[in-house]
Each structure stands twice: as C-alpha cells, then as structure tokens.
C-alpha cells in the first residue's frame, strides 16, 4: 500500500456555465502522504475536492479515490465511508449540540473510534451540551476535525482547514492534524493558500493554477530540483532564449539575469557561460518562491 495511490485524477475538467473551473487537472496522491494542495483563490482547489467526494460531477476526465470512480453514486458512497472531510466553511448542523452531532455522525461509520472521540473532546475542550451554532469559529473547526478524525478514516480531505482562524488556533489545528496522522495510517489531502502551513506539515505538494496542476511532487524533491541561477553582467543583462528543459521563469533586472529552474542548475549554467556573465550564483528557493513564480502571470 506504501506506493499505491489514494487519489488519482486524469485530465479532469469541470465547467460551470461559462467558467472553466478545472482544465485538465491531473493529480496523484500516494497513500500515507500529507499532501498540500496549494493554489490561489479560485484556482480550482475546492472544485477538485468536491469532485473527489461526489459533491460535483466532472464535465470530463477521471477522478478515482481508493481506485473507485468518484463520479458514480455507489462507489462515491464507499469512498465517503473511508474518508473524513472538513469543509472550508466548517459546515455542521447548527441546531444540534456537540454531543448530538457526534452521535449523529458516529451512526454512519461502523469503525467509529470512540477512543479518539473522547480524546479529542478532552483535548479540544469541546462543551458537549453546547449548540453548534453557539461555537466560535475555532471551536467549530476543532469539532469538524474531531468528526473527521474519529471516523477511523483512511483519507482526510481538508478544505482550507485553518481559514479564518487566529495564529494560536491555527497552530493547534496543524499540530492536531500532524499528531493524528502520526498515530494512524492516514493519508491527508488538504487545500490551502497559506504556503507556510503547507511547508510546515506537508511532505508532498501540488500547486494548482487556473484549473490544472502546475507543480507536483515530494516537498524534499522540489527543494532539491528547484533553484534560482543568478547571473550578473557588466552590461545590461541579455534576453536569452534558454533551451535547457526546466526553465520556469526568466527575469531581467538591469545587469542581473535571474532564472528559476525546476530541473537543477546544470543545463542553465552550461548555457549561461556562453552569455559571458561576470558572476554566476545558484540560490536555493523556498516553497513560497516556487508557488509565486508558478502562479504569477504577466497579465
């Protein structure tokens, strides 16, 4: 199961009237990973998650979770039986008390973990008798996490789990996710536009831009393969047509030419020598830089 894929989409497309939310999104999430799904607002993160959970139907393409077709009713129920989900708005039943919604949710899952339920009730200090609508946003998020964790789910899908939370609660939530995954064979797929939190807890990342995955891979691999080659010239930097594969973006700023590469510096350095720079430097890049360079468009 170590190398098997929990989530797999191929050329996934979704059109809402005249808006193309997904334009051929292909994604792979291996079992046991914590995969951050990064993208700007409106990039297609929530649409992808909704398709994976059977809440929206793809216009074309394939989406499979645990090898099951997400767009078919019966397999979708089977997927949801093995998946915990926290929505961006932390939608829960406002009219129920904490205890009622816990009992309600537990009834759908034969492998409901009462031990986890009790542990997280204590850890999150959730008041059992309080109505959901009376909970703060932070408490609501914690309750949503409790309901997702206690399902005994093999996959957690979290849509912007920390959105709208203060830094203290954000840290608590992130630690809770990491702590939970450490003690269970669970795959986590969480969307975010907060690069720092993806950097903090994810071991894989997929950057979605304009409805398709622009960058994907293990975070360590990305850190190793992505780099910036900076060249300083004794004149205005030339406008080179670099043929080396992996050039993500080239930027000229006076005498400085900066090239972001997704395939290491070697090829670019070979080409750069021919340009005659005064100095050449290879600089490591952060996830934030990779993200910004990937999603930044000249328009």
């Amino acid at each position: 199961m170590a190398d098997s894929l929990v989530i797999e989409t191929a050329d996934l497309r979704k059109r809402y009237d005249d808006v193309e939310a997904l334009c051929g999104l292909s994604l792979q999430v291996p079992a046991g990973s914590i995969c951050g799904f990064l993208g700007r607002n409106g990039a297609g993160k929530t649409t992808t998650i909704k398709i994976l959970l059977g809440m929206a139907r793809p216009t074309s393409g394939q989406a499979r979770v645990f090898g099951l077709a997400a767009d078919r009713p019966e397999p979708s129920v089977a997927i949801r039986r093995r998946t915990g989900f926290v929505s961006e708005d932390k939608d829960l039943y406002d009219g129920m008390t904490v205890e009622e919604i816990v009992r309600y949710t537990a009834a759908f899952y034969p492998h409901w973990r009462v031990d986890l339920e009790q542990r997280y009730l204590r850890k999150f200090e959730l008041p059992s008798g309080r109505k959901v609508k009376a909970l703060s946003r932070g408490m609501r998020t914690k309750l949503a996490l409790l309901l997702a964790f206690s399902r005994g789910a093999e996959l957690l899908i979290l849509d912007e789990p920390t959105s709208g939370l203060d830094p203290v609660v954000t840290e608590e939530v992130l630690q809770a996710i990491v702590g939970h995954v450490a003690g269970a064979a669970t795959t986590v797929f969480f969307s975010s536009h907060q690069i720092a939190e993806v950097d903090q807890i994810a071991d894989r990342v997929a950057i979605v831009d304009r409805g398709r995955v622009a960058v994907a891979g293990a975070l360590e691999d990305l850190r190793e393969t992505y780099c910036r080659v900076q060249m300083v010239f004794d004149r205005d930097a030339p406008e080179p047509a670099l043929r080396t594969p992996g050039v993500v973006r080239t930027r000229r700023d006076g005498r400085v030419l900066s090239v972001l590469s997704s395939a290491g510096p070697e090829g670019i350095l070979d080409e750069a020598r021919a340009l005659g720079p005064v100095s050449t430097e290879v600089v490591a890049v952060t996830l934030k830089e990779i993200f910004l360079e990937t999603v930044r468009h000249e328009d």
Partner: protein
C-alpha cells in the same frame, strides 16, 4: 440517524401545523351550538346570485352535524391549512442551502443522495399523514361534548383523502426544493400553483369531478359514500412522478 435529522429539520413546522389543525377541529365542533342558534335567522337572509346560492347551500349543509363538519372544516379550514402545511413540510430540506443547514456536511456522509431524499420525503409524508388523520380523529372524540356524534370511519376516510391529495403539493414543494437553492421560491411557487388550482376549481363551480381540492375534501365520499378513486389514483401518480423527478434532479446537481 437520517430520520432523526429529518425530524429535527421539520418538527417545528409539523408541531405548529398539528396544534393549529387540532385547535381548528376543536373550534369547529364547539361552535356548532352557536350555529344552531343562528339557523332560524338564516332563512330571513335575502340574497341573490352566487352569494345567495352559497348561503342557501351553507344553511342546508349546516342543518345536520355531518354536513356542518364537512362544509366548515373538511372543505374549508382543513383543505386550506393542510395545503399550506404540505407545502411548508415539502420546502427546504437536507440539501437546501437556504435552510441554514449544511449541505456539504450531509453530502460528505456515506449516504446516497437518493437515500437522503427518500428519508426526507418519507418523514414529511408521515408528518402529513399525522396532520391529516389526528385532527380528524378529534371530531368523534369531541362531538359528544356538544351532544352530537361523528363517525370515526368518516373521520378516517376524510383524513386519508386529505392526505393523498395534499401529498401532491408536498411532492411539488419537495421537487421545487431540489431545483431552487433558496427557501422562498419553492414555497411561493407551490402556493401559487395551489391558489391557481383552487381558483380554477371554484370557476368550474363543482363541475370538476376530479379536482384536487374536491378529492382533498372528500366531497364524493360525503355526498355519495363512494371514494374518489380516480382522483386519489391521479394524486398518487402525480406525487410519485414528482418525487422521482426530484430524485433525478438531485442526482445531477452540483454543490
């Protein structure tokens, strides 16, 4: 547990409806002595045209207790209130984004949309049946209090006719709730359809043998002792068709 959630969603509407309909049944029964006192005055009223016809018909029906109950309660109060509460019970629901509930939380649970809608429909129909039958059963219980009697069989038959016909409006409201994401359009459109049908039937002045409100009031049973089988069958068919369409609509919907 879907049943429990469905009950929580609709219980206030159901309980308000039940209390109102029971109070209306009680009021109708206990007002009968006043009607008897006013009966001698009715013959002195001079009115012509449609109004006169209606008054004479009302007086004739109220001359006996069974006719009074049917004309005042079954045909008027009960049909209006039952239609209203059928629409109210059918509007909104587990996937309604306007009801303040969380569609995404429900959709993330391992239950098919068909099952969720089926439970929602079954809960609403059970409540509608209770609204139709329980207040009607108060009639035979309370009638001895005014020195009258009312057949429990009549009460049951009228309750069932009312339920079957009102279920059509319930199904319409439920179908509309799967089409529109807000709470008000299903409610207003279903009420609009009910008002249009009642005006149409009123314009036909009783010539419409199978009108839905005629079926709902059990007029054929009251006048002839026979059940309006064709009307009942038509209502059941229309309800089933709308519930099926609601299921198909919901299956295709994106959230």
């Amino acid at each position: 547990m879907l049943w429990y959630k469905s009950w929580l969603d609709t219980r206030s509407r159901f309980l308000v409806g039940l209390v109102l309909l029971v109070l209306s049944a009680c009021g109708t029964v206990f007002y009968y002595p006043q009607v008897l006192k006013l009966m001698p005055m009715a013959s002195t009223i001079e009115a012509s045209g449609d109004l006169g016809r209606r008054i004479r018909e009302g007086v004739a029906l109220a001359s006996n207790y069974r006719g009074y109950i049917w004309s005042q309660w079954m045909r008027q109060a009960m049909t209006n209130l039952a239609t209203l509460f059928a629409v109210l019970l059918g509007s909104g629901g587990l996937f309604s984004r306007a009801s303040g509930d969380s569609a995404l939380f429900t959709l993330s649970l391992p239950a098919s949309r068909t099952r969720v809608l089926g439970v929602r429909a079954a809960t609403g129909l059970a409540q509608l049946l209770a609204l139709a039958v329980i207040p009607a059963l108060f009639l035979p219980l309370l009638s001895p209090g005014v020195g009258q009697s009312y057949s429990p069989t009549d009460a049951l038959v009228h309750g069932v006719c009312l339920f079957v016909a009102a279920a059509t409006f319930f199904s319409l409201a439920l179908l509309l709730s799967t089409v529109f994401t807000d709470l008000w359009r299903p409610l207003l459109i279903a009420c609009g359809v009910a008002i249009a049908l009642s005006l149409y039937e009123a314009a036909l002045r009783g010539q419409s043998t199978y009108g839905i409100f005629r079926v709902m009031s059990g007029e054929d049973y009251f006048r002839t002792g026979r059940l309006p089988w064709l009307g009942l069958f038509s209502s059941v068919t229309a309800s089933a068709a709308m519930l099926f369409t609601a299921t198909r609509t919901l299956a295709r919907q994106d959230f």
